[in-house]
């Protein structure tokens, strides 16, 4: 992706300032321009656009949006091309390191321009997410080299052209871990197995089939790493099966010799800046609390993509980016009233997390959610009272569910106090 224009405009007030040029940010730029915003700027800390998709060189992106299997860079290229066509301005190598909550001042740094502040009329947060590190799960043992999150390893292999190790164990079955299992095999390394503490996979079934099954990589559910061995370089890990309380079962321990441990144990929305900006963060999603306009608790600040809730598919991230960008443009033009009624969404049966958490009914919207426990059989997603019902063949934590809410249905019920989303067997 070399079609990265970097036009400097005078640091006046941007209509919409977007933080992060991954899939959500680029889409937000397009959404804002299409809504009529004049000055739309996307800031990107990397030297190139695309965010994490730059290093996702495997196919599988854009099935919904383009009905084709694209690689990450190919998928991004289509959006970036459109963003340039509609006049979105990008500033690369520009990092936002602070947002002042008093006045929404955005502080940026760039090697050429130094430290500068911007005072946009509206902001869209599209910083994406990061991987949970080893410390988050407190595995005992030593701390040698050779332990990486799957995404860090992916950067080394795909971007730098270096191998992190020769024989890997993968802990956690998030999608990047599955993708990296296959990548390690392709690059000539061994993958001893993938270990998942839960009794269901973290990632998409599609990836289990295409990345593990097709390459004969063993996949162990209800099993986790219980000890790290090796002083300098990783020498091995102990794995053990776990009981229903996720406690390792004595006698099931097994030592595996390996020089690499890749972690795919979850993603966390990246919200340092959101916290600085004084934005309310949802305790379960880890992202900003948003309404269906993707507006946060700070009316001038919108948020979209994995910074809000971690999605499975980039298509959803782009969709949400378009919405947030368009609404930020409307806000900048004074077209969003600050006193719209907002109906809270509540998670009912078997819903672990969901977004948005507030519904204005100003437009049709999708509530994205994840189930707590898998349901392997006929089930349904509902949004009560009577707003949505959809039958499903199954529901799994690794695969998001949606409830589509019609604005007309919300408007038709002026006494609506709350919306409850459920996923339950039928």
């Amino acid at each position: 992706m070399s079609n990265n224009k970097n036009i400097a405009t005078p640091d006046g007030r941007q209509d919409v300032l977007i933080i992060g040029a991954g899939p959500a940010g680029v889409a937000a730029g397009i959404g804002a321009k299409k809504e009529g915003a004049e000055n739309v700027v996307v800031l990107e800390r990397d030297w190139d656009l695309g965010g994490i998709l730059q290093q996702c060189i495997h196919p599988g992106f854009g099935l919904r949006t383009f009905r084709e299997e694209l690689t990450g860079p190919e998928y991004m290229h289509r959006f970036i091309k459109e963003a340039h066509e509609v006049g979105v301005e990008f500033r690369t190598n520009t990092m936002v390191f602070q947002i002042d909550k008093e006045n929404n001042t955005v502080w940026t740094m760039n090697k050429e321009r130094g430290i500068k502040c911007l005072n946009p009329k509206s902001i869209v947060l599209t910083m994406g997410c990061r991987e949970r590190p080893l410390g988050a799960i407190r595995i005992p043992g030593t701390r040698p080299s050779g332990i990486y999150t799957a995404g860090t390893a992916q950067r080394f292999v795909n971007m730098e052209g270096y191998m992190p190790g020769k024989r890997a164990v993968i802990l956690g079955s998030g999608d990047i871990g599955l993708i990296m299992a296959r990548r390690m095999i392709w690059e000539g390394a061994e993958v001893e197995g993938v270990y998942e503490v839960m009794s269901w996979p973290g990632g998409l079934r599609r990836n289990i089939a295409q990345c593990l099954d097709d390459y004969g990589i063993p996949f162990h559910l209800k099993t986790t790493v219980t000890k790290i061995h090796g002083a300098d370089r990783l020498e091995g890990v102990t794995v053990a099966e776990v009981d229903d309380k996720m406690t390792p079962i004595k006698g099931t321990e097994r030592f595996i010799e390996c020089d690499t441990l890749l972690l795919a144990i979850g993603l966390i929305p990246e919200n340092e800046l959101s916290r600085m900006a004084g934005i309310e963060i949802h305790p379960v999603t880890g992202g900003p609390v948003v309404n269906d306009l993707l507006q946060t608790s700070n009316p001038a600040v919108f948020a979209a993509g994995n910074v809000v809730i971690v999605y499975d598919l980039v298509d959803n991230v782009s969709d949400e980016g378009l919405i947030a960008g368009a609404n930020a443009a409307k806000f900048a033009a004074g077209k969003i009233s600050t006193d719209i009624k907002k109906i809270p969404v509540k998670g009912g049966q078997n819903v672990r997390l969901f977004s948005p958490q507030l519904i204005t009914g100003e437009k049709d919207t999708i509530i994205y959610m994840r189930v707590t426990h898998p349901i392997e059989g006929a089930c349904k997603v509902t949004a009560e009272p009577g707003l949505y019902t959809q039958r499903l063949r199954y529901a799994r934590p690794g695969e998001m569910n949606e409830a589509r809410i019609k604005a007309s249905a919300v408007k038709a019920n002026p006494n609506l106090k709350e919306i409850i989303v459920d996923v339950q067997p039928i």
Binding site: R130, P133, P140, T152, M163
Partner: protein, 489 residues
């Protein structure tokens, strides 16, 4: 290589002595087997500057703890290191423990610890609302403080280097050299012989072995592991100071503290072990720490844990520091068994060692004051803590300060480059000198970036960069070469 004095070990003890001796016209060599500092017990500990009430009057520990505490309050400015002057509390859960607090108070007074006071549990909770409601009283020690131990050790050795001392990393002492009278002539190492009439043993957990090379079997080091949890910096303010349990026969017990950088931390255990190098955490140890943390702070937010670690302390059989010059061979000084309150005591110990050299080894070494001694040393700028004007100025003068490398701790490329200029060669060295990689993603973001900068600046291939020296390389080769090798098999 001829020196006046060789110091084996560059933990807080060795580095502190090096800095103190650099106040004299001496040619000083400091040897450390690690690739970065600090590496031993000075790296993994509670980072506590103790108030001085805990040691029995008359012990060597008691002699150095209070003076050491006073020196740190001064050194923090001279050396530009973070010292959180927050005080500490020893918490009592019942009358028996409250009685013990009174004993500690008296002991502290005898040791010269200022400002000690017993306060009620209610008063404690006014200051620290998150402590257990079952705590009935606490001993307040206003002079206790929490230091950034990574910074402190690097600051001491940098200051020594500014004043002429030489540091040799990855230099492992393998034996002592003796002259024809069987007195000290120097140290044999993996990098060759270092010659000097005086050798100071600041070898930490290895000090017993080093002393035995000199024929000294008067003390025994018992490596004692302490395990810890370190939590995300968003926990800042959950606890503002340092909380001890009431000490028992088993030791000072598990503590809860806010580090000098604002992370919540808890530990340590005290498990004796054979292996001085085993720094692995254990399920039992971590469970014990968590239990202890929750006793003091019931809502200890363990879900915000970002890493666990263990340090190995050089306990002694006597329970006290082992400091002194041997009569035979002449020229050998032990500064051994420096465990808690070792970090606190280290500057006072360093002053004492200088006096010891003057008094007992004057025939071998002359301590002539170095009138060119520069006490000040400036830290690498800490972007995170600077005001915006200062940040702008830095970035204007050096664009590398307008490039973030570690986003969790807001560390700029300028800081990383400065750490490399000051001798950092590994990912961990950069981490300890700049804090890049100490945050919530634990290097997931910055590790590849720091590796690239090290590779570029030191002109070594990326796959030669190590995490912490030795065999801890990050990568095993280039992808294509790796496949070709594989094909050739």
């Amino acid at each position: 290589m001829n020196y006046d004095v060789i110091i084996i070990g560059s933990g807080v003890t060795g580095a502190g002595i090096a800095r103190e001796l650099s106040k004299y016209k001496l040619k000083i060599a400091v040897l450390d087997k690690a690739s970065e500092l600090p590496s031993g017990a000075s790296r993994a500990n509670s980072s506590m500057i103790h108030g001085g009430f805990d040691d029995k009057p008359g012990t060597v520990k008691a002699k150095f703890c209070v003076p050491g505490n006073k020196l740190w309050h001064k050194l923090k400015d001279e050396l530009d290191v973070h010292l959180n002057e927050c005080g500490s509390y020893v918490c009592a859960f019942n009358d028996k423990e409250t009685k013990h607090l009174e004993e500690l108070l008296e002991q502290g007074k005898a040791n010269g610890a200022p400002g000690l006071e017993i306060i009620s549990g209610v008063k404690l909770r006014e200051k620290e609302p998150n402590v257990s409601s079952e705590i009935v009283a606490a001993l307040w020690s206003p002079e206790a403080a929490i230091i950034n131990n990574f910074e402190a050790v690097n600051a001491l050795i940098e200051s020594a280097k500014i004043n002429g001392a030489e540091l040799f990393l990855e230099t492992s002492a393998t034996g002592l050299l003796f002259d024809e009278k069987n007195n000290i002539r120097g140290v044999a190492t993996n990098k060759g012989d270092f010659i000097a009439p005086v050798v100071i043993n600041a070898g930490g957990v290895h000090a017993q072995e080093i002393a035995e090379w000199a024929g000294d079997t008067s003390f025994k080091i018992i490596p004692t592991k302490g395990e810890y949890f370190l939590l995300d910096r968003t926990t800042q303010g959950f606890i503002h100071s340092f909380l001890f349990s009431c000490p028992s026969k088993a030791g000072k017990g598990v503590t809860v503290l806010q580090t000098a950088e604002g992370n919540l931390m808890s530990g340590p255990t005290a498990t004796e072990q054979e292996d001085p190098e085993d720094r692995s955490t254990t399920p039992e140890g971590l469970a014990e720490v968590l239990k202890g943390a929750r006793r003091l702070v019931p809502d200890f937010p363990i879900r915000l844990n970002i890493t666990t670690f263990a340090g190995v302390r050089a306990n002694t059989e006597s329970g006290d520091f082992e400091i002194g010059a041997l009569k035979n061979p002449r020229g050998f000084v032990n500064v051994a068994g420096i465990k808690s309150p070792g970090f606190t005591s280290s500057p006072a110990i360093a002053e004492y060692v200088a006096e010891l050299l003057k008094e007992e080894l004057a025939d071998r070494i002359k301590l002539i004051p170095n009138e060119k001694f520069i006490p000040e040393r400036k830290n690498i700028p800490r972007f995170l803590y600077l005001d915006m004007e200062k940040r702008k100025e830095l970035a204007k003068n050096d664009p590398a300060y307008a490039q973030i490398v570690c986003r969790c701790e807001t560390v700029t490329e300028g800081q990383v480059l400065e750490a490399i200029r000051r001798g950092a060669r590994t990912i961990s060295a950069v981490k300890m000198m700049t804090r890049a990689g100490t945050g919530r993603c634990q290097g997931g973001f910055c590790c590849p970036r720091v590796a690239e900068i090290l590779s570029r600046e030191l002109n070594i291939p990326l796959d030669e960069i190590t995490r912490h020296g030795g065999n801890s390389k990050l990568l095993v080769g280039k992808t294509k070469e790796f496949l070709l090798e594989k094909g050739a098999e």
